[in-house]
Symmetry: none
Subunit: 222 residues, 4 copies
Amino acid sequence: MLSNVTFKVSQSACLKDPTESELGKRILSESINLLDEIGLEQFTFKKLALAMGSTEASVYRYFENKHKLLVYLVNWYWCWLQNRILITTYNHSSAFFKLETAIDLLASPIKQDDNFEFIDEKKLYNIIISEGAKVYLVKDVDAENNEGAFLAYKGLCSLISKLILNINPKYKHSHSLASTIIETCHNQIFFSEHLPRLTDVSEDDHESLKEFVLHLTASTIQ
Amino acid sequence: MLSNVTFKVSQSACLKDPTESELGKRILSESINLLDEIGLEQFTFKKLALAMGSTEASVYRYFENKHKLLVYLVNWYWCWLQNRILITTYNHSSAFFKLETAIDLLASPIKQDDNFEFIDEKKLYNIIISEGAKVYLVKDVDAENNEGAFLAYKGLCSLISKLILNINPKYKHSHSLASTIIETCHNQIFFSEHLPRLTDVSEDDHESLKEFVLHLTASTIQ
Amino acid sequence: MLSNVTFKVSQSACLKDPTESELGKRILSESINLLDEIGLEQFTFKKLALAMGSTEASVYRYFENKHKLLVYLVNWYWCWLQNRILITTYNHSSAFFKLETAIDLLASPIKQDDNFEFIDEKKLYNIIISEGAKVYLVKDVDAENNEGAFLAYKGLCSLISKLILNINPKYKHSHSLASTIIETCHNQIFFSEHLPRLTDVSEDDHESLKEFVLHLTASTIQ
Amino acid sequence: MLSNVTFKVSQSACLKDPTESELGKRILSESINLLDEIGLEQFTFKKLALAMGSTEASVYRYFENKHKLLVYLVNWYWCWLQNRILITTYNHSSAFFKLETAIDLLASPIKQDDNFEFIDEKKLYNIIISEGAKVYLVKDVDAENNEGAFLAYKGLCSLISKLILNINPKYKHSHSLASTIIETCHNQIFFSEHLPRLTDVSEDDHESLKEFVLHLTASTIQ
DNA sequence: CATGAATGAGGCTTCATTCAT
DNA sequence: GATGAATGAAGCCTCATTCAT
C-alpha cells in the first residue's frame, strides 16, 4: 500500500533517533504540544521535561538544544509533505495537476496520518507556520546548512521547481517561485490569523489561499 | 525640500524617543551594528551596553526589552520605505511605474540617507532580511498588534495594495499580493546569501530579484 | 609606619576589585571560610553565595570562576609574604638572617594582620597548604601565566633567590632552590597533618620544619 | 629474570582489577591518553567512554570515580618506580649509588616497559607531574589514607629514607628529605615546562635537574 | 560481564530587572 | 537623567550514577 510509505528524517538534527524509543516519541509529541502552546522563545527543555514527566538530561540525549529539536520537527514536515505530494500524484500525468496538489497540501493543515500516531499534525502545522522560518533565520545558518539541516526543504523546493519546469521549461525562476509558493502559503495563513490587514485570506479559508497562490503561480508561469 | 521629509516611528515600541538624545541615537546605531554582527538570539542589552560603553540600566530607559528594540528598528525601515516610495513617485502618474519603484526599493539595500546619520542603512537592511520576520513571529503578536506595533507594515502594505488596484481594480488579492511582494524580496535575498538552492537569484544580484518579483507581480495582476 | 605598608593583588584574577566594596570583602572572607571547610573540589559559587546570604550572580561580578578566586587568594598570600619578609628584614644586613626569616615566615601560619580584617590568616594558610598548588597544576597554566597570574609567586621566588645568591653568588640553582624551599614548607606541613609517614615533622611543630628546611638550605648553599 | 618482576597495584583504588580483562586495560591506556591530553579537571567518565568506544557504565565497573582512577595510575607509577629502583640497584652495595639511581629514575621519564604494553610511560610521567599531587590534596585524604591509598608512596619514601640513613644513620629528617626529593623532582620539571622563572632547570634537561637534586641531597646528608 | 537507556541533582552562567545614588 | 551595583530567577548543560537487559 502506497500510504504506508515511510521516511527517515535527517539524523543530523538529533543525537539519537527519537522514533526508535518510547521516550523519544514522547519527546516529539510533547514538544509539539508545548511549542504550539507557548512558542519557541518561551519553550525550554526544562518545561518540556516537566510536561513529559521526565528530565532535561533525558531530552538532551536526543537533541542538543531546542533549535535542533525544531529543525527535526520542521524537517519531518518537509519530508512528510514531499512524500504526500509524491503519493497523491503518483498515478497522474498532468504536471499542472501535480502542482495544484502541491499547493493544496501546502495551504492546508496536515492530514492526520495514522503512520505517525505520535505526531499531532494540526499542531505541527501551526508550528510550521509560526516557527518554521526560525530554523534558517539564525546566524549559523551556513554551518547548519553544511550539516545538511535543510536538505529536505531543498528537496521539496526542487520537486516543485521541476513541476514548474514541466509546465513551462523556459521559465527562468523556477526555484525562486517554488520557495515563494512555500513561504507564501505559510505566511498568508499566519497573517490571516494575526494580521488580517496584510492579507485578503480569511482565517481558515484555505480555499481562498489556494486560489490566490494557484492564480499567482499559473499567471507567472503562463 | 522633499528629501527633508521626516517621520516619526511609532512610539509604542519605546519608552522614550531615542532620536531626541545623544544616548538614544547611540543605542540605535550600536544596536544596528551588534544585531547585524551577532543576530537577535545572541543579542543582549548587556552586550549592547558594553559595545556602547554604557550600562544596561541606561538602555532600559529607552526600550523595555530587545524585542521592542527590534520592533522599533523594523518600524523605522517600514516608515522610511513608505516615505521613499512616496517621494520617489511624487511627480509620476503611472501606477505601474510606482509599483516598479516600490519593488525596486524593496529589493535593494537601503540608500544611505543623510537625514539619519545614526542609522547604517546597509546593516539595517541586513537586519530586516535576517530578523525582520521575528517581530511578528511571536506568541504575543496579537497584543503587540493592538498596541500598534505593525501599523507601519500595514501602511506600507496598504500603499502597495492601492498601487495594485490602480493597475487592476478588479484584482481580488491585492493585500495578499502586497505582503507577498514584501516578504519575497527579503526572503529571496536571504536565500541567495545562505541557501542558494532555494532561489535562482545570485548573491547581490538585485536586478535579477527585481525582474523575478516584477514579472510575478505583473503577470498576476494581468 | 612600616607595618602599614599595603599592596595590590594582581587585578587580572578578578573582574572588579573585591577590597573596594563591602560585598567584595565578604566574598573574600566567606570564601576563605568555605574553602578551608570543604576544599576546592566541593566549593561552588552557589554554596558561597548561600553562606554569604547573597547570590551567585553577585559573586560573578567579582570573579569569573572559582579558580580565579583561588588565584586571587593565593596571590594575596604571596604578596603578603613578600611584604612581610621585606618589612621584617628591613633594618638587617645579614643575608643569612634574611633567608632564615623568609623560611620562618613560610613555615609558620600567617600572623593575624589588622590591616586586613577581612582575611582570616590562619584559614588562608591552610588553604595555601592544601589548595595552593592547584593554581598552577591546571591545563591552561600557560595562558594564565601570560595573563600574569603568577607574577607574585615569581616575585617571591626571585626575592629568595637573591638572598641565596647574596650568601653564595656562585650557587647555580638559586631559583630551583627558592621554589623548592617554598613548596617544601607547605608540603611538609600537609604531610605532618595527613600523611605522617612521609615526614619527620610532627603536626604543628613548625620549629622542626624550620630546622629541616634551614639545614637543607644552608647545607646546599654551603 | 629480574626484569620480569611484576607487581600488584593496591586494589583499594579499583572495584575490579583492570589488568585482568581487555576492557580494563583499554580503560587504563585510554585514561592515560585522555588525562595527558585534557587534564584531570576536564576529564570525565563520559569522555573516557567516548574515547574508548565504550560506555560510562562499563567504566564504573572498574573505578568508582575519576579520583580513584587517578589514585590507581599514580600508585602504579609509585610501585613501578620502587620496583625499578630495586631492580637497578640489586647487585650494588653502595648506598650512595642506590640513592643516585633513585634520583635518576625520579628525574627522568618512565622508560618504556614492555611488561606493560597498555601503559604509555611517557604520558603517565606527564600525568604524575601535572596531576600527581592531586591524589592527596583532597579533603578526604585521611579516609583514603586509611583505605591504603598511599601505601605505595609511603613504601617508596621509606625505601629512599633507608638509603639516606645508610649513608648517614644520624640524619634526623630522612623521611622529610625523601618526600622532598620526590616532590621536588616532579615540581621542577613542571616549572621548567610552564613557569621557567621558578627554576634553573631548562625544559627536558633532566641532567641538570638530577645535578640539582643530587647536590641538594648529598649536601644535606653531608 | 557488558552495555544502552534513563535520570536526579547540581554546576556554571547569563538574563532581565531593580535599587540607590 | 544617567549610571554603577546588586540580585532573583532561570537558562543551559553535564556529571555521576542507577537500572534493566
